[in-house]
């Protein structure tokens, strides 16, 4: 904790900090960041005027980025987001700066290790984000040619195969199976294997995978819901109650958990519990209204 004197000093800064800040901002506007940055870094922490501080810190961030002083840039972005939360300019600048940082890191990766699996993966992810599925798969497969047992790559390919239209569920299933051979503790791959099985109505198989996913990652909320849904679908209503109880504790605002738990209670003769969960389902559903237009 800062001393009382230091706090008083920060709350009542001298005219020097303010003048320095104005000077630093002026220099930064003129593009003279080499001169502006040390002045701004020194003055900014002592500014009481909120608006002046905002301008000073934003100028510090811009100069730090332009001078490639990444550490300083990140520090002031954290200050900006802490002291000016929800400010649109701050959020915009933060996005811009982090994006720039990401771009620089990617360029450096490409320059220093262009054939590394990390570089290939970055490229594949870029294609994936553009929904260029075929190119993304091709890039991921290049990685597997280099490192056939690299964890996470088969999982990524499987996800893409499910995202394609029409989805290739069988292909995806094979990829997820390959993934769990390489990384038996990959809860996400187990979950996806469960989801592929659930989507084709193979409840028993889905139950096995969702059960594994929830054991591998005890915080995996969706796995509990999916397990409960599959157990209900398989008519194993009493078995569904425990995972669904876990889920509604984790996600009390999701109507799905309450609906499935109500179903499990109702089918096991626990009518008051079923009615209670159904009431919670109605409340939760009412709080998540649908769009008035055709979903895009």
């Amino acid at each position: 904790m800062a001393s009382a004197a230091a706090q008083a000093s920060q709350k009542a800064p001298g005219p020097d900090a303010s003048s320095s800040a104005h000077l630093g901002i002026s220099l930064a506007v003129k593009g003279r960041c080499q001169e502006a940055l040390p002045i701004l870094k020194k003055a900014a922490p002592h500014l009481a005027d909120k608006q002046l501080k905002y301008q000073a810190v934003m100028s510090t961030a811009r100069c730090a980025m332009s001078l490639d002083q990444t550490e300083t840039a990140v520090e002031v972005l954290l200050v900006l987001n802490r002291e000016f939360p929800h400010d649109a300019d701050v959020l915009y600048s933060t996005t811009h700066f982090y994006s720039e940082l990401a771009s620089r890191a990617a360029q450096e990766l490409a320059a220093t290790a262009p054939t590394s699996h990390q570089a290939e993966q970055l490229e594949a992810e870029a294609f994936e984000s553009q929904e260029n599925w075929d190119r993304a798969i091709a890039e991921y497969k290049k990685i597997l040619e280099q490192e056939p047992r690299l964890a996470g790559i088969h999982y990524r390919i499987g996800r893409i195969l499910l995202s394609k239209s029409p989805a290739d569920a069988e292909g995806a299933k094979a990829e997820f199976n390959d993934e769990v051979k390489i990384a038996p503790d990959n809860a996400s791959a187990e979950f996806m294997l469960g989801e592929v099985a659930r989507q084709s109505g193979q409840w028993d198989e889905a139950i096995v995978h969702f059960s594994r996913a929830s054991k591998l990652d005890e915080g995996f909320q969706e796995a509990y819901l999916a397990l409960g849904m599959s157990l209900n679908s398989a008519g194993k209503f009493s078995d569904a109650i425990t995972p669904l109880r876990n889920y509604v504790k984790m996600q009390p605002g999701d109507p799905a958990g309450h609906y499935q738990l109500a179903t499990a209670y109702a089918r096991t003769g626990q009518k008051p519990e079923a009615a209670r969960e159904m009431a919670l389902q109605r409340d939760a559903a009412a709080k998540s209204p649908r769009s008035a237009q055709t979903p895009k």
Partner: protein, 579 residues
């Protein structure tokens, strides 16, 4: 209910109608009809397609639906309309009724529009008799429910419309009279599907009418692109739900609105479809109502005129994630022959349709995924649909028509189309197989399908299909497959039960084949069907026996033997024989 001896000869007395055929003279009317002759239309040419589209030039059905699409994108424009097979003149040949749009507060047609009644000429062609019959409609038409509410032997028409509906009483002479005001079934608002059924087991057909949202020109909301001003059809979540109607038949040509005391109006609806069936085998007709953006209703009939809405706990109200879908088309049938009636619901794209297996105890499980129906319908939007045994092998198959409600969806949603093909699922006895591709060119044709009615218009035992499209001509399909197997067609006539015998259960045995069928009320979307039932026998040439469990109030079972095949027969409740 005790009736006076005079009731027997009173044409307005429906329940006694067929007990007293002699004094009403209707025996001759029936015996002179094609029901007894049941001659099938001779086949001039054979098509290799299981379902063959009959062009307007061949059928004479030149009528076209006009939706009045406006820049304002009023929701009723995109959801209509329905169609029906009915034998309005009791000649034993299925006629056709088609519903059109019409004048209302948001639409004044440039040219007059009207519904159409086409009389079956018994040669594969139809003649438009609408004006003579007097059934043109008088507002923005939606659907049609056919039922002989007064038991005089002639089917009556309830036409749902916005902003009020019409009851046309069949005068028995080829004409109808608008009796809406006298009957008290105007149902102000936006009515969609309707169904005739006997909810209080008094032997009279009552009327349930689905109501959609609180809508009018003044209540139109904006959905679209704010920058360009272009409007799209809204998802109805932003409109207020409204209660459906239940009208009790008083037996004197009037009805009493019992929506409130029956419990129906307590559940606010955005209802598109309805089917009436005894879902818990307690001898009372229940109702399954599909809603758009609010949970579906399962109104369990608890007797004494009361319904309990149990959709959510029964597992048919919302999807597996606890959210309401866009419930549209609906039907009910015991597709797996376990003695309990199952349900089907069609939804909009990305929601999948639901095949709800009846697990007994008023609980259902959605088997859309394991049957493959989920995957086949993932991107589809379904309206009219019906279970029926199209190939007469004894198993109930499933036919659906589709089409997205938003005519701009192609531009905005990948892989989703405004015009969509029909789907046909063949019941293999172990599950459903999507046989659409091999069942005819019609299953590759994009349609704006809405209504779907079943009816054997050529009396050959192959149940044919009528599809009504939005803003397009209807599609008449001849079924070429069913007649390749053997069959028996039944017309059931209730005497104590309602004359249409809705709720009857038929069980039959033919060699190693034992099957049953339930006669449900309504189903599909905005549409009404041939009231006759066709029992498929496969290659078997003989029916060993047939049992009819008549609906309440008698609930009696009659067993018949020495039955013919490959023709239609009529069975009157209590007579223990067929004609």
């Amino acid at each position: 209910m005790v009736k006076s001896s005079r009731d027997g000869c009173n044409p307005a007395s429906r329940r006694r109608f067929l007990q007293t055929l002699g004094c009403t003279g209707m025996a001759s009317l029936l015996s002179g009809s094609g029901l007894f002759r049941a001659e099938a239309l001779p086949r001039v040419e054979q098509s290799s397609a299981d379902f063959e589209e009959i062009p307007a030039s061949a059928s004479g059905i030149s009528w076209v639906h006009v939706n009045g699409r406006s820049p304002m994108a009023h929701l009723p424009e995109t959801v209509g309309a329905g169609c029906a097979f009915l034998d309005y003149d009791n000649d034993g040949w299925m006629d056709i009724y088609l519903v059109n749009s019409g004048p209302c507060d948001f639409y004044q047609p440039a040219q007059p529009l009207r519904n159409a009644l086409y009389r079956n000429n018994r040669d594969g062609t139809f003649t438009d008799v609408t004006l003579k019959a007097g059934v043109p409609g008088d507002a923005y038409g939606m659907g049609v429910a056919v039922g002989d509410y007064d038991g005089d032997g002639f089917p009556d028409l309830y036409v749902t419309q916005y902003p009020h509906s019409i009851l046309y009483h069949n005068n028995g002479d080829g004409t109808f009279t608008d009796v809406t005001a006298k009957a008290g079934v105007g149902a102000p608002g936006w009515a969609t599907s309707a169904v005739w059924f006997d909810y209080d087991n008094d032997g009279r057909l009552d009327l349930f009418v689905c109501r959609f949202v609180d809508y009018s020109k003044a209540k139109l909301k904006f959905c679209g692109d704010r920058l360009s001003g272009e409007r799209f059809y809204c998802i109805p979540s932003i409109y207020d739900p409204m209660p459906c109607w239940l009208f009790r038949n008083n037996g004197d040509g009037t009805f009493t609105d019992v929506s409130k005391e029956s419990g129906i109006s307590q559940s606010l609806a955005k209802a598109w479809g309805v089917v009436a069936a005894d879902l818990n085998n307690d001898g009372r007709m229940d109702l399954y109502v599909t809603n758009d953006t609010v949970p579906n209703f399962l109104f369990a009939n608890r007797g004494k005129g009361r319904f309990e809405e149990i959709g959510l706990l029964a597992g048919v109200g919302v999807n597996a994630f606890g959210k309401p879908r866009s419930g549209m088309g609906v039907d009910a049938a015991d597709y797996d022959q376990d003695g309990w009636i199952d349900l089907f619901e069609a939804n909009v794209d990305h929601e999948m349709y639901s095949l709800y297996h009846n697990d007994k105890n008023e609980a259902f499980s959605d088997l859309a995924l394991p049957t493959g129906i989920g995957a086949a319908t993932r991107l589809m939007s379904g309206w009219g649909l019906k279970f029926f045994d199209y190939d007469n092998d004894g198993d109930l198959d499933l036919l659906l028509c589709n089409g997205h409600p938003d005519d701009s969806v192609d531009k905005r949603v990948e892989d989703v189309k405004f015009l969509e093909p029909m789907l046909l699922f063949h019941n293999t006895g172990k599950g459903f197989e999507n046989v659409s591709r091999q069942s005819g060119a019609i299953f590759s044709k994009p349609l704006s399908g809405r209504g779907l009615a079943l009816g054997d218009f050529d009396n050959d035992g192959s149940v044919d299909v009528l599809i009504s499209q939005n803003n397009a001509a209807p599609v008449l399909l001849r079924n070429n497959l069913g007649r390749q197997n053997h069959w028996l067609g039944l017309r059931l006539v209730g005497t104590k039960a309602s004359i249409d015998a809705i709720g009857a259960r038929i069980t039959y045995q033919s060699g190693d084949l034992t099957r049953h069928q339930f006669k449900v009320g309504g189903g599909s979307y905005l549409s009404s069907h041939d009231p006759r039932m066709v029992l498929g026998l496969g290659k078997r040439t003989k029916i060993d026996w047939l049992e009819i469990q008549w609906p309440q109030p008698s609930g009696k079972t009659e067993r018949l033997t020495d039955l013919p095949v490959d023709r239609y027969i009529t069975i009157v409740e209590g007579q223990g024989k067929w004609k």
